[in-house]
């Protein structure tokens, strides 16, 4: 006789638990890169969007009024517009161009793959593997 020891009522319960584990691991991974100070993350997002647009437009100093985050920070710190924009962009690029998408890809792909698994052992093994990847992302 076969005894497969697990705490799940059925495979759907195992998949639901696995999805929660993957979401939680993605949250931990994001928390390693994103600030949790209230409101600060939205400021970083706005600054990065402004800097990206400014740099992509060729750093047009004569149009800096439409890039308020760049204009104000440059004038407040005594730096040129292009230095401020490129500094903000350089700090944000790793998250926006690689780390963030990688984490989200692991999360979404990991949860999507659960649909195709047919036994609880495979579900648990898959969740462990995805969580391990997220823990080092």
């Amino acid at each position: 006789m076969q005894l497969n020891l697990h705490n799940y009522g059925d495979i759907d319960g195992a998949k639901a638990a696995a999805a929660k584990q993957i979401d939680a691991a993605a949250g931990r991974a994001r928390a390693r890169y994103l600030t949790v100070t209230e409101g600060q993350e939205s400021v970083y997002q706005a600054k990065y969007a402004d800097a990206l647009a400014f740099v992509r437009a060729g750093c047009p100093a004569d149009q800096v009024d439409v890039y308020p985050w760049i204009k104000v920070e440059a004038e407040a710190t005594g730096q040129s517009y292009d230095v401020v924009a490129n500094t903000i962009k350089a700090k944000g690029d790793p998250w926006h161009m690689e780390t963030g998408p990688t984490i989200e890809g692991l999360r979404m792909g990991g949860k999507r793959a659960l649909q195709d698994l047919a036994d609880i052992g495979a579900v648990v093994a898959h969740a462990r593997a995805v969580v391990q990847q997220l823990d080092v992302a």
């Binding site: 006789m1 005894l3 697990h6 609880i120 052992g121």
Partner: protein, 136 residues
């Protein structure tokens, strides 16, 4: 003073003790039969069969290993558990089952120590500890 054992209708020893010989019959009651004897007797090691105190037989259980990778596929095989034995599993997962007499294969997806107890009277209760470890 004489030693006595009290046992139930199946021969399970419920109690041992000593009393004056003339009081032996007073030890019996509903569901409690009494007989003289009992030196070195415990409910684990002995039972009463056909009016005699005899040793409870062992199940002759063997286990393939006592560690298990909790990956849902690594198996521990337990043989020798007689059909009808009650299996009680305690650990990260708590479960009960009735053995069918066939070898028992156990897998787990939760790491930790599992205590597996097999009981079927008059066999002696058997207990196996299995350590399920996290996959590398």
């Amino acid at each position: 003073m004489i030693q006595y054992v009290i046992f139930d209708g199946d021969g399970r020893i419920l109690q041992t003790g000593s009393c004056p010989e003339e009081m032996l019959d007073l030890q019996a009651g509903p569901g409690r039969e009494v007989m003289e004897g009992g030196a070195g007797v415990t409910s684990y090691s002995h039972y009463v069969a056909n009016g005699e105190i005899v040793e409870r037989p062992g199940m002759g259980i063997s286990v393939s290993k006592i560690t298990l990778v909790a990956d849902g596929s690594d198996e521990v095989a337990i043989t020798g558990v007689p059909a009808g034995a009650q299996l009680s599993i305690d650990g990260p997962v708590v479960a009960d089952a009735i053995a069918d007499g066939e070898p028992i294969s156990i897998t787990s997806v939760h790491a930790g120590i599992y205590v597996i107890q097999a009981t079927k009277f008059p066999y002696r209760d058997e207990r196996i500890n299995i350590n399920a470890t996290e996959p590398a």
